[in-house]
Each structure stands twice: as structure tokens, then as C-alpha cells.
Symmetry: C2
Subunit: 234 residues, 2 copies
């Protein structure tokens, strides 16, 4: 696994979270040379990125590259709880229904930024496609995780006159429980995936993504190896 420029068959956007880690292993089974791409966009913590590196190695990808765009945090922090020095991470049970369609954990236009960088990377490396880990349960709060978003970003990228890159999201109809099930089948080591928005020494168990992850493991009847400091998983 190197960070060098090498030709590859597929680029996988990976954050180190549960969904993109499962995706990375899933794609690695069917593509010969996978390049894993991770982006620092000014996140509150780097727990996820450490997991992304671990999973890239575990999946045996050809290359792993972190794109450092941490300076985006300078302005993204004004409106997103996921950014360092941004507003506080909400508990899911304290999140009013009215803001759930675009909650405080939404990062302005994040997925379009990540996918446009990943498409540029793929184009430079001669890869025909980029994979990203959108799943069905993200749809409630994030317009940039929907099937319409996927369709329209592909319509846009198709205008490229030489090497049009396709964006693929094979898990977009999966629930998080489906992804846990798939990950178990693929042998993903979930102890090295990080979901909690807070990024403290232990996952909090009460932020929206912790609650969703805990429920997913319960539904599947699997064991989440991560300890939680609060909530039903603690």
C-alpha cells in the first residue's frame, strides 16, 4: 500500500466510518487495483481517518491517499457541527423534527466537494469510476446522499469529453443493518471503524450516528466491538 500515483481500476472514497469501510472491502473483492481516497475537510477529529488507513491496509488496496483540504474548516465551521470549532454535536433525542431534513451535522455541499475531488483523482489515475458509501438511512437528513443526487452528479460528469468518470453507490439502497450484515460476511473488523460524531476516547452512544449504529447491530443480532460512554450501548 503506497501513496504514490499509480493507475487503478476504481477509486473508493473512504472516511473510516462503518459504511465506507464495508464499501471498501466490498469493492476490493471485485476490482484488481483499488485506490482508497480519504479527505481531511476540517473534521472535528481524526479518529475516522486513522480507521480509514487501517481498513485500506486490511482490504489490501493498491494505494491510500489522504487529500488535505483542512482549510475548508475555516468557513465550514460557521454552520456545521462536524467541523472543528463548529457548533456542538446534538444528541439525537434533542434534535427537533423540523431540522432533521438538514440537521446541524450536515456539512455544506460536502459530498459534491469530495466526489469532485475523487473524480479528478480517478481521471488522473485512469480509473473509470468512483465509489462512495451513501446508504438509505442517510437520505432523511442529507440531500447529497440520495439517489437523485447520484443520478444528477453522473449526468454532470458525463459531459467530460475524454474520460468521463462514473460515480457508483452500490450500498445506496441498504439500511445500516444491511451494511453491518454485509461487513460481517466480508470479515470487516468493526473495532477499527469509527462512527461517533464526537471523536472522544470512547464513542458517545447518543449522537445521531451512534444511535443508528447501535440499532443496526441490535437488528442484525451482531456484537459491536466498540464500547460506548452513554446510551443503550454503554
Amino acid at each position: 500500500m503506497t501513496a504514490e500515483n499509480t493507475h487503478c481500476d476504481a477509486v473508493v472514497l473512504t472516511s473510516g466510518g462503518l459504511d465506507s469501510s464495508v464499501l471498501l472491502h466490498h469493492v476490493s473483492r471485485s476490482s484488481a487495483r483499488v485506490a482508497a481516497l480519504c479527505v481531511n475537510y476540517g473534521q472535528r477529529h481524526n479518529r475516522e481517518m486513522e480507521c480509514a488507513r487501517f481498513q485500506a491496509s486490511a482490504a489490501g488496496v493498491a494505494s491510500f491517499f489522504i487529500v488535505d483540504m483542512g482549510c475548508l474548516g475555516t468557513f465550514l465551521k460557521t454552520s456545521s457541527a462536524l467541523i472543528q470549532d463548529g457548533p456542538a454535536i446534538p444528541r439525537l433525542d434533542a434534535l427537533p423534527e423540523s431540522v432533521r431534513q438538514q440537521p446541524p451535522t450536515y456539512v455544506p455541499n460536502r459530498n459534491m466537494i469530495l466526489l469532485s475531488v475523487a473524480a479528478a483523482y480517478a481521471e488522473s489515475m485512469g480509473a473509470p469510476c468512483v465509489y462512495y458509501g451513501a446508504q438509505a438511512q442517510d437520505e432523511y437528513g442529507y440531500w447529497d446522499c440520495t439517489e437523485r443526487f447520484l443520478e444528477r452528479i453522473n449526468t454532470l460528469l458525463a459531459l467530460n469529453r475524454r474520460n468521463a468518470v462514473a460515480v457508483k453507490a452500490p450500498l445506496i439502497s441498504n439500511s445500516k443493518a444491511d451494511n453491518v450484515r454485509l461487513g460481517m460476511k466480508l470479515g470487516v473488523d468493526f473495532a477499527h471503524t469509527w462512527s461517533c460524531y464526537r471523536g472522544e476516547s470512547m464513542a458517545c452512544g447518543v449522537c445521531p450516528t451512534c444511535v443508528e449504529r447501535i440499532k443496526a447491530f441490535q437488528l442484525v443480532g451482531g456484537t459491536d466491538p466498540l464500547p460506548y460512554s452513554d446510551g443503550p450501548g454503554s
Copy 2:
């Protein structure tokens, strides 16, 4: 002019080149609070960025911010002559017809990256729109300067559920000569705009963008204040 986070009415993507400098002055006449955004994506030189800063000050914008994404150059250099350590800049007269629809000076997916970052910036600052300086003569070689690109990126961004940002390119039907004419009317100081792809102490006069600029001034009957080291403008 500060680099701080302030609310604004419009974000203008500016490179310090001729077209985006004219655009910046044009938009500044009709918008109260303009934020100028400049992106370092690993360009071969920073002559343009110095000009962008000058023009932002001359246009009296509310803020000027350089987004440092220089690390993109690490992979973009494999395929674009505009990137530091990339392939050599071609002379226009040595460019085969067959590659002109996506020439060596094309940067993989650049405008989608820049516009997605600018849209995130606009969304964070509460601005409803982003302006970029596409003009009609770019259409020949760059799919990401076309009207279809503009239409499709807006269709994509329109999915945002709260603050959909619109991308506007009011000069997209202009030739470069039209932009020179408009810039003269707006009092743009063209001595502080930089077009040459090479970024040496003097503009080269023979790369594609120098040739286009020289012709545009000739057509309008105006005087380009820049000296050239070679070609018809030298």
C-alpha cells in the same frame, strides 16, 4: 477587505486571469457585499493569485479568501500542463487538432472542484449565488466551461433542501474580446491580470491563452499593458 467569515450577497470565483477579473468588477457594481474566492489547486505559478488579490482590492470587495488545496497538485500533475511539475505548456501553433477538445492545459474536473467549494463557501456565508468567469471561447477545449455544464451543475445544486446555491456565469456568451471591451468600460487595470500559462517574468505570447488574449485586444483596438517575450505581442 478581510479574509474573515462575513455574510455576503455573492461569491465570485476569481483566478486573477482576465475573464474572472472583469467578472469580479462587473458583479461588484451590482452586489453590495461580494466575497472573492481564489483557489490554489497546485498551479504552476502564483502570478495569477497575486493579480486576484490586487483585483479584489481594486473592486472593493468585502472579503478575499484563498482556499489552499495545493495538495491536489500531487495527482493532477500526472495529466495537466497547468500544474506544477506537470507536462510542458504547449505552444498553440504546435497543438494538434485532435487534442483541442480537451488539451494538455485541461485540468481534470477542475471547475467542478472549484464550484463545489465555492458553493459550500456561499452556503456557509448565506450567499445565494456563486459567479464564475466561463466565456464562449473556452467552450472549444473545456467541457466544464460550457452552458450544458452550467445547467447541469445547477440542476444538481438545486437538490439542497435549505439553501440551494445558484451558479451564474453572466459572461458565458462573451468572446474574450467582449470581455476586454467590458473591462475597459469598467476601468479594469489589465496590467494586473495574468493570462499566460507559463508564469515566467514576462508573458510568453505563444501559449494558447496568450495568443487568445493578444487577439482579443487587437480585435477591440485596445492596448494590452502586458509585455510579451515572444509571438505577435512582443
